[in-house]
Amino acid sequence: MTDTQILAERKKSNGPIARWFAMLWADKFAFFAALFLLIVVLCALFGPLLLDAVATKQNLRGRNAPPFDITRGWLYILGADALGRPLLARVVVAAQNTMLVAAAAVLASSIVGTALGLIAGYSRASAAQWIMRLGDVIMSFPSLLLAVIVLYMLEPSVANIVLVLAITRIPIYLRTTRAEVLEVRERMFVQAAKVMGASHWRIVFCHILPVIFPTLVTIATLDFAFVMLAESSLSFLGIGIQAPEITWGLMVAQGRPYLTNAWWLSFWPGLAIILTTLSLNLLSNWLRIALDPTQRWRLEMGGRKHG
């Protein structure tokens, strides 16, 4: 019963930001995931501005310098690569490209996929059928294979990578949106809006979209991790981002020839990928509960079961 009292007190005093923060704090894993992602985003935004010069400065005396040795300065705490460039600075700088590609691809595919899904779900025209067939066509080929073909044939530039990844992810949003729209469309409040003479645009954007938005956010978070892994694989194979630009996947590939004597070259960027993916998965799990009004109480009550 004390839980209810605490809940009531909290609701009285706090605004929405504090309430969300409390819900995040209730799930410790999600809290640290969010914290880690915040750090990664800050690295992506400001890392290259601050550390670009350091990250590209060669220092042949410090070739493959081992990690955990701070005699060269704190930047060398994770060691140095084959040209003596500090790995910590490089991992921070590489965050920008990694995040940029994934964010752009997720944004593009989610906007296009959702828009198409809304049309396919809401309109009864034959266009809807064509959209679904288009989705099937994309779905019937594995994304990595498609990406490999296209990127070998076109130039592997940032724009092309984003394009390929975005196209292969469209069906995810398309199918989810359509399925949700088909269900929401029949609900009472949509019927009411129709009866009151709301236009199609108003119904879709003011009545249907807000209801399915939480689902889409959860999927996009999960998809971000998938796209990041896909980009890393492509960069690792040498058909993604090209040097001298760097991403985490490319750094793993660059460290591969030195595996036998300097494992840290490939280890740290790989660890960065794992931690980011893991954080995104955890945050997506939390979002699924936090954005669902019927499940939210689990977090507002203190969420001991999720600890």
């Binding site: 296209v150 044939m153 993916t277 955890l282």
Partner: protein, 304 residues
């Protein structure tokens, strides 16, 4: 059921034709294979003869027409690199990948279902926490990185496993082990989630009230009903290995279809690239069909 398969076949067929047309023209725009296959000091006559022999002199549209005509007669063209029918090359590689996929997925399915069900039986218990932790890490690990770390540990430092090639049972351990991790993490999470919701349903409570053993509740009453979402993920992951084991095959020098694909594109072996696409499209089609059949078997309410 027949019309269902028919519709599926049409959708897959259309997408296959579209992709083949695109790849055919795009691949020929990327460059002339002559420079890759003839020595650098080859004379102009030799180059012309090479082009003439393989038909690269004709306009693209004529080349495409010839390709389609051959295709209709069941001829997929010859591999430039290996100078034998492209389909033979592809099927050989596909057999390797098929074995890789089958072995990995059987192991993953058994492990994920057993561990996931046991974890779901006591939600929040020690076993559940450990299983969830490892499945989350497994689902987040990039396969190329795991492959590299595995090589460092098992081949470079411990000298217990070979790093590449085929030939003995030991050669399969690392590729299968690395491919195992991500599907295992993903499927375990789905099994656990699905099992939790099934175990809280009315018929499981009834079985429990009747005093049925825990083990048979999980594996007899629960499992069959919890399998539907699991089958979907298993299918997705199996398809991913069948076609996308590019990274693992490249790292471990495994002569499968992913490695063949990369090598063929790099060496502009057009006929092989197109044959790879056709074979993998067929594999995906059959895979999806099997999944739908599994649905119908597991849930008698589903009819096509």
């Amino acid at each position: 059921m027949k019309s269902f398969i028919g519709k599926r076949a049409i959708a897959s067929g259309v997408s296959l034709v579209v992709l083949i047309v695109i790849v055919f023209f795009l691949s020929r725009l990327t460059g002339d294979p002559t420079n890759l296959y003839l020595p650098i000091d080859a004379t102009q006559e030799m180059r012309d003869q090479f082009r003439q022999m393989h038909g690269f002199n004709d306009p693209l549209i004529v080349q495409f027409g010839r390709y389609v005509m051959d295709l209709v007669q069941g001829n997929f063209g010859n591999s430039l690199r290996q100078a034998r029918p492209a389909m033979d090359v592809v099927l050989e590689a596909f057999t390797w990948t098929l074995w890789l996929a089958v072995i990995t997925m059987v192991l993953v399915t058994i492990a994920a279902i057993v561990i996931g069900s046991l974890a779901a039986f006591r939600v929040g218990g020690v076993f559940d926490r450990i299983a969830t932790f490892f499945s989350l890490i497994g689902a987040a690990a990039p396969d190329f990185w795991v492959a590299i770390v595995a090589i460092v540990i098992f081949a470079v430092n411990l000298h217990v496993l070979p790093t590449s090639g085929t030939g003995s049972v030991w050669h399969w351990v690392l590729p299968v082990g690395v491919l195992f991790i991500r599907p295992f993490g993903l499927i375990l999470q789905v099994v656990r989630g699905s099992m939790i919701s099934v175990l809280s349903s009315a018929y499981v409570k009834t079985a429990r009230a009747k005093g049925v053993q825990s083990r048979s509740i999980i594996f007899v009453h629960g499992l069959r009903n919890a399998m539907l979402p699991v089958i979907t993920v298993i299918g997705d992951q199996a398809a991913a290995i069948l076609n996308g084991a590019v990274v693992v095959e490249t790292v471990f020098g495994f002569p499968g279809i992913g490695k063949l694909m990369i090598d063929s594109i790099l060496l502009r072996d057009f006929a092989v690239v197109l044959a790879v696409i056709m074979v993998s499209a067929l594999a995906i089609f059959i895979m999806n069909l099997l999944i739908d059949l599994a649905y119908a078997l597991l849930d008698p309410r589903i009819r096509y």
